[in-house]
């Protein structure tokens, strides 16, 4: 099923050209034992300031789609624009921050030097770098760990440091690939809240991959349900939840109704496969 971008969102009022627009997008990996259709005929438009979650079973192409947006993978069919440009141009303009599935911190740099890495590359001034390190580390609750090396931190703390690294520079688009997968429930709740606040304050567009239905519903203005073999979009659900979302919104009937719809979408994808 093809999804249409509805320009009117309950949570975001802006009506502008979409930040990401994919039409008939397909990506086939040529592997030793035949082609793998990681993405097939994906149509999707993501407007400015939206919070979009991608959910679907393992191997349905969520990471691949994010990588295509980031120009880390080239599509083999269809077209995609990011900020109205090709992904490559957008990447060269440093249009997005990417949080990988694993933290990927450099072990020879301290936490603060890791956060400073993109800033050094993009040529920020020394004072600016120091100020941004302090601000983003505070945002992910890592103040006090500036001088530690990544291998001295727990996996969850490393992941938070990698989020801080992606937030350190001004990109309007944030691509996050299961950033909270390795964290415990409480920290996850906390970071979910923080992420929502950050999104609210900065008006960034966020693409967020997750395996958790509650997380997807809690965070998103739009939920993209995907299914594998070939990887495609089976449902796009626009959230009716208000922008103001306390954690206990997760017990409301409205929330549960959306969650049920996501679950149905996932089930449909699975049964299709068998």
């Amino acid at each position: 099923m093809n999804a249409l971008a509805s320009p009117t969102q309950p949570a975001t009022a802006t009506v502008t050209a979409p930040v990401i627009e994919a039409t008939g997008l397909g990506l086939t990996f040529e592997t030793g034992d035949g082609p793998v259709h990681a993405l097939s005929n994906v149509d999707l438009a993501i407007g400015k300031g939206e919070f979009v979650s991608f959910i679907g079973p393992s191997g349905c192409g969520k990471t691949t789609f994010l990588r295509v947006i980031a120009d880390l993978e080239q599509p083999t069919a269809g077209r995609i624009t990011v900020n109205g440009m090709s992904p490559e141009e957008a990447r060269r303009q440093r249009a997005y921050g990417y949080v990988f599935q694993a933290a990927g911190l450099f072990p020879w740099r301290t936490i603060e030097r890791n956060v400073a890495l993109p800033l050094e590359i993009m040529g920020y001034s020394k004072a600016e770098v120091a100020q941004r390190i302090a601000r983003t580390l505070d945002l992910v609750n890592l103040t006090g760990f500036e001088k530690k090396f990544p291998w001295q931190l727990s996996g969850g703390m490393q992941q938070r440091a990698s989020i801080a690294r992606a937030l350190a520079f001004d990109a309007d688009l944030l691509l996050m690939d299961e950033p909270f997968g390795a964290l415990d429930e409480i920290v996850r709740d906390h970071l979910n809240e923080q992420l929502l606040q950050l999104w609210d304050r900065t008006n960034k567009t966020i693409c967020f991959v997750t395996h958790s239905i509650p997380e997807a519903v809690y965070l998103s203005t739009k939920i993209v349900v995907m299914s594998p073999r070939p990887g495609r979009v089976t449902d796009v659900i626009d959230s009716t939840l208000p922008k103001e979302r306390p954690l206990d919104i997760r017990e409301t009937p409205e929330f549960l109704a959306i969650a049920a719809r996501v679950r149905d979408g996932l089930r449909a994808g699975h049964s299709y496969e068998d």
């Binding site: 120009d71 990988f100 590359i121 291998w151």
Partner: protein, 384 residues
């Protein structure tokens, strides 16, 4: 293993303590009762006094049931007393039979050294200042034991001097030839090795970066590099003498050729060590080739580069010394070795070898220290 009784002696391995006590009891009274047999200068008997004091202390403490002094101390005092006696007794028996208790004493010393190292490797000596002490003491005791046995065996069995001189003779030779040795070290190490090593490693590194940038260089050069690394390059030494003359420059040239390819091959391998995700990350920042090189790929390559630096430190020393066998001015470690062996002055040959070993170890050690400082983050060094 441990018994409920709280005593040092029994807390450590019981059998070892027994062995230790037997050694002491059987040997302690021999030289005192029969002075002509183990015949050091009289003052050496004084060295036995601390050991006697220790034994008395053990007996007293045992009688009173309080904590015993550490076994290590007893073993150390035993070695202090008997090793000098063993060494000085050697003087006597050129042609004669060895004194009756001589070999038992030597064996007891070797056993005691073994026991001491065993104790110093125990759990008590893993951490803190004791750990640091043991880290240096154990190898020192180990090599001193080897030197001791070398000395004793060579002299007791009258091994011909040209075959294997005793270490003491080598030591005396070193002490008496310091100016010559210093001149040789200056010529071979400070000129040939350092110049060749620096140029060879730097060139290998720079070419590796170029090979990384230009695929044709990588494809063309790496197979050659791998092949040349397997060749006995030292064979080019005579050619280098023709090209660069007799002095140290031709030796440095040999060292350059020897160290170039290991550095090239290792650096190229190291530049591929950075992970895919880290590279993708740099790509998302639209990082330039040089930024990615300096901020990601070179740091990730450092363990490989230091590996090459360490291999090359050994190669450079071998290369410079052996290259001098093929013609040199009348100074240099290789020159000295090849001429003195012709004159049957083997102690001088061994002296040069000892100096080369020392210089090589220091060279290697300095690089290893630098490696620890630079690649502190690597799991093999941070102990993860």
């Amino acid at each position: 293993m441990s018994t409920p009784r709280k005593m040092n002696l029994v807390d450590t391995a019981f059998q070892r303590v027994l062995l230790f006590l037997i050694i002491i009891l059987t040997l302690l009274f021999y030289p005192l009762l029969e002075p002509p047999y183990l015949s050091g200068p009289g003052w050496q008997s004084v060295l036995i006094l601390p050991l006697l004091a220790y034994i008395i202390l053990v007996l007293v403490q045992r009688y009173r049931g309080t904590a015993l002094p550490p076994v290590e101390m007893g073993v150390g005092l035993f070695l202090l007393a008997y090793v000098p006696i063993c060494l000085s007794s050697l003087r006597g028996f050129d042609g004669e039979e060895a004194p009756r208790n001589y070999w038992t004493t030597v064996a007891a010393c070797a056993l005691a050294a073994w026991l001491l190292n065993d104790l110093l490797s125990g759990p008590k000596y893993r951490t803190g200042w004791r750990g640091t002490f043991a880290k240096f003491a154990v190898p020192a005791i180990f090599s001193l034991t080897l030197l001791f046995l070398w000395e004793v065996l060579v002299r007791a069995f009258n091994v011909p001097f040209v075959l294997l001189p005793p270490p003491s003779a080598i030591g005396v030779r070193i002490a008496n030839s310091l100016p010559v040795l210093a001149a040789d070290v200056n010529q071979t190490i400070f000129k040939a090795v350092f110049a060749g090593y620096a140029m060879g490693c730097a060139a290998g590194f720079v070419v590796a970066i170029l090979a990384d940038r230009f695929l044709f260089l990588r494809r063309g050069l790496l197979p050659i590099g791998n092949m040349v690394s397997a060749l006995p390059i030292i064979g080019i030494a005579p050619i280098m003498v023709m090209w660069f003359g007799f002095d140290w420059q031709s030796k440095a040239a040999v060292v350059v050729v020897m160290t170039f390819f290991p550095m090239l091959v290792n650096t190229v391998a190291g530049l591929t060590a950075a992970g895919h995700m880290e590279r993708d990350l740099m790509r998302t920042y639209a990082s330039s080739y040089w930024q990615t090189l300096f901020k990601l790929r070179l740091p990730a390559a450092m363990p490989f580069i230091f590996n090459a630096l360490k291999i090359n430190s050994t190669l450079a020393l071998i290369g410079a010394i052996v290259a001098e066998f093929f013609g040199t001015p009348v100074v240099g470690m290789g020159f000295r070795i090849s001429t003195e062996v012709g004159r049957m002055n083997v102690d001088m040959v061994w002296a040069e070898i000892a100096v080369a070993a020392l210089a090589g170890s220091v060279f290697y050690g300095v690089i290893a220290l630098a490696e620890r400082a630079v690649t502190f983050w690597h799991p093999s060094i941070r102990g993860g």
